[in-house]
Subunit: 454 residues, 2 copies
């Protein structure tokens, strides 16, 4: 019992400073989502396993954290089943609930369960932790937050436009320069159709993505290794060498994909999104990137990804259009489009670029030193006035050594310390010490409030 | 698969309106905690079962949600153990993690794990969900939020004073009239000593609490039924009949407990807290209530409880002083004092009294009707200006029937709708409809911003 406790691997405690930074990130995202008319929902941490199983592939099923049934969880098992020791198969008998694995499946479940109350299109955002029994490693946790916004029940591409505006606004507010990359699943389908290699589309995008590193010959060699026939590689040349502005790229692709109805539809959609955004003066660049192939097993239209320009790190936001979000729960025909901000990576980016505004991480603004009972009693109404003025203030609760109280102020990075001793009580003035400059001044309560609240 | 999905019993989804109300509650509490110098932390949803087991009594152990080990959870079990089907005993072999049951044990674990980084006294707050496998019933959930603030590492009663100020400030901000009840475990110990019935203290407080309902004879009869000897009941008479102001009560108790050192210490502590608060002009009444006996198995000093005056509901906030918070994790000698706001009950109280400020529950402020592509493209830069001015605005994404768009605005309770048709585009003006009054006016973008932002 007395051994030092630990926490489960892959999980984290968040200290006051980390929480202040995380709250700054979440609040910024939350505010921007609200500015665009998105509304927050929350779903339970636990979902029925029947809701979760089979939605994330076989691998995902294994990575679900399952919750043991309460009471006699052996009840439903025969001796033979028990002795078979088939962990994967028996999990569903021991457990009927699991922790949510992402926010998308619970959202789909929410839409179906509450369909009568919802007025479509439904623009919801959700900021909650998810859990995955992944092997923990640097930057990968078993508990982490997702910050998703989705619109369901509208096919309009204006939703895509709006989501890109949100991305631009959020990163502008953070002061992080980003490149917003967009692609379209239909263009990729068109390419696959063109060369008759539908199952190779991921290999193709991976190879093309290496152009800068390994050159055109390298890319062609890799495509050949992937089993793409020479003729198809030939047809891919204009796509591999695609350069120029977004419009130039679209023009080239329109020619290349002239025979593919789906491909042309993807180009048209992308053109609409890019042209509409061009009139809206975004702060960050939006770039058509045909090598963007995330989430190909569920995205059906636009695909987005955001890269930080000044930090070496993977994608910090992503998303796309998916059809039939709620089909798995028996409610077909609802199209959706969404984005998800990667809070943990954004946290790292803001740390590396030192972009946290000081107001965001400040806690207590004034500490009152405690010299004893009379001084403390004298201080309390003064502190109450400060708090009434919205100033975060505290009295050191014990009348211990001055040194200890000052190091408490330093540890908490409190910018002002107020000293009230006998002289101050007699004169009705406070001594205020600026902890940054070291300067000491004498002030009334009102003067102190003005000094701090400005 | 196609059957309508459900959520685990005892858990809840929160709709946009519920979330807005809950955020109002959490943000108010959060702001006041910060105003008093408390800092937020978060701990993982999962803790090691070794951290949780044995901390909440035998019943609590059963109510922990346990998470099944990943991989081959049969590995550590012999055939005999399996066939014994001893669910309670084998749970710890199948599972090494559980969901947190409250915020206090994880906080104690946090303090011990991070003791090197912490500067004591540590004033932390924590607002997170907890999980209990209780039988769900009205008002009792298997997942619910706790909103705790605690100070550890300081014995000063000024902490108790500060927590009462926090309670007073929070409920003043909510506009809820409350009675803050305080008691002290040491007074109760004194009473038990006085009558030689230490193990009967809970029975005694329960009986005394019924004075209003069953009268003095009823109380005495119940005490006799509880096995309290006639002589002890005689000694309890001044306590049962205790009336008057807090000071009068304290005077009476000082005489009754004259022989109990512990009892007198409890009176002295309570007197200090009440007298100090008396100088601080609280909005709500603080009342000494000797029948307050919550958490007697862990509180060692002050005990608090808050009752709403205008709604019939149980305690909406509680707390107290406990010694040796971290002793269970091998770090003895740290005293703490804390409070916990009951968010679910406060939610019900604010609903019943209709106290949610309209700004707190408002979402989108302006909806732009969508008449077609040209109108939509015209609207987008206008909407961007509104958002830049901080006005939550959205464009209906599809150019469907006006009626559908208006009912979307109504469902979302959007107060203003902007109509941009051909006339408006030609004249460079917008038509603004006030959805409450039904009034329509013509305005420029700047005029619209002024109209809404004020």
């Amino acid at each position: 019992m007395a051994q030092k406790p630990s926490i489960p691997k892959g999980t984290r405690d968040f200290s006051p400073l980390e929480m202040a930074k995380r709250n700054y990130i979440f609040n910024t995202i939350r505010e921007v989502y609200a500015l665009y008319g998105f509304q927050q929902i929350e779903t339970p941490a636990m979902e029925n396993l029947s809701t979760l199983m089979g939605k994330y592939g076989e691998e995902g099923d294994k990575l679900l954290f399952k919750i043991q049934n309460s009471g006699d969880y052996f009840k439903e098992l025969t001796d033979e089943e028990l002795l078979s020791r088939n962990a994967a198969k028996l999990a569903s008998k021991f457990c009927e609930k699991g922790l949510r694995y992402d926010l998308t499946v619970p959202f789909a479940r929410y839409v179906v369960l509450h369909r009568e109350e919802l007025s479509l299109p439904f623009k919801r955002y959700q900021i909650q932790p998810v859990w995955r029994a992944d092997r923990p490693q640097k930057g990968r946790y078993r508990e982490f937050y997702q910050c998703d916004a989705d619109v369901v029940g509208s096919d309009s591409l204006l939703n895509e436009v709006e989501l890109m505006q949100i991305v631009d606004t959020v990163f502008s507010r953070f002061g992080v320069r980003v490149c917003i990359k967009i692609n379209n699943r239909k263009i990729l389908t068109g390419i696959a159709e063109l060369i008759g290699q539908a199952d190779k589309i991921v290999d193709i995008t991976v190879a093309i993505d290496k152009l800068d590193k390994i050159g055109i010959d390298g890319v062609n060699a890799e495509l050949a290794e992937d089993g793409i026939p020479a003729e198809a590689i030939e047809q891919l040349q204009p796509i591999i060498n695609l350069t120029g502005s977004n419009n130039e790229k679209l023009e080239t692709m329109r020619k290349v994909l002239a025979q593919s109805e789906t491909g042309l539809k993807g180009i048209e959609e992308t053109e609409f999104i890019l042209n509409t955004l061009a009139n809206l003066n975004l702060t960050n660049q939006v770039e058509l990137d045909l090598t963007l192939a995330r989430g190909l097993n569920y995205y059906t239209g636009a695909i987005f990804e955001v890269k930080a320009l000044d930090v070496e790190i993977g994608s910090i936001t992503g998303g796309g259009r998916y059809d039939n979000l709620t089909g798995i729960f028996g409610m077909p025909g609802l199209s959706g489009v969404g984005i998800s901000f990667g809070a943990d990576r954004i946290f790292d980016v803001l740390n590396q670029l030192d972009l946290y505004p000081s107001e965001a991480v400040n806690t207590t603004q004034v500490l009152f030193v405690n010299f004893g009972e009379a001084e403390a009693q004298y201080s309390l109404p003064v502190i109450a006035s400060l708090r009434k003025a919205g100033i975060r203030s505290e009295l050191y609760p014990d009348s211990t050594k001055m040194k200890k109280q000052m190091s408490y102020a330093n540890a908490k990075q409190i910018p002002f310390v107020v000293i009230i001793g006998e002289t101050e009580m007699q004169e009705g003035k406070l001594t205020v010490k600026n902890m940054v400059s070291g300067e000491q001044t004498s002030a009334t309560t009102d003067e102190l409030i003005k000094m701090i609240a400005g």
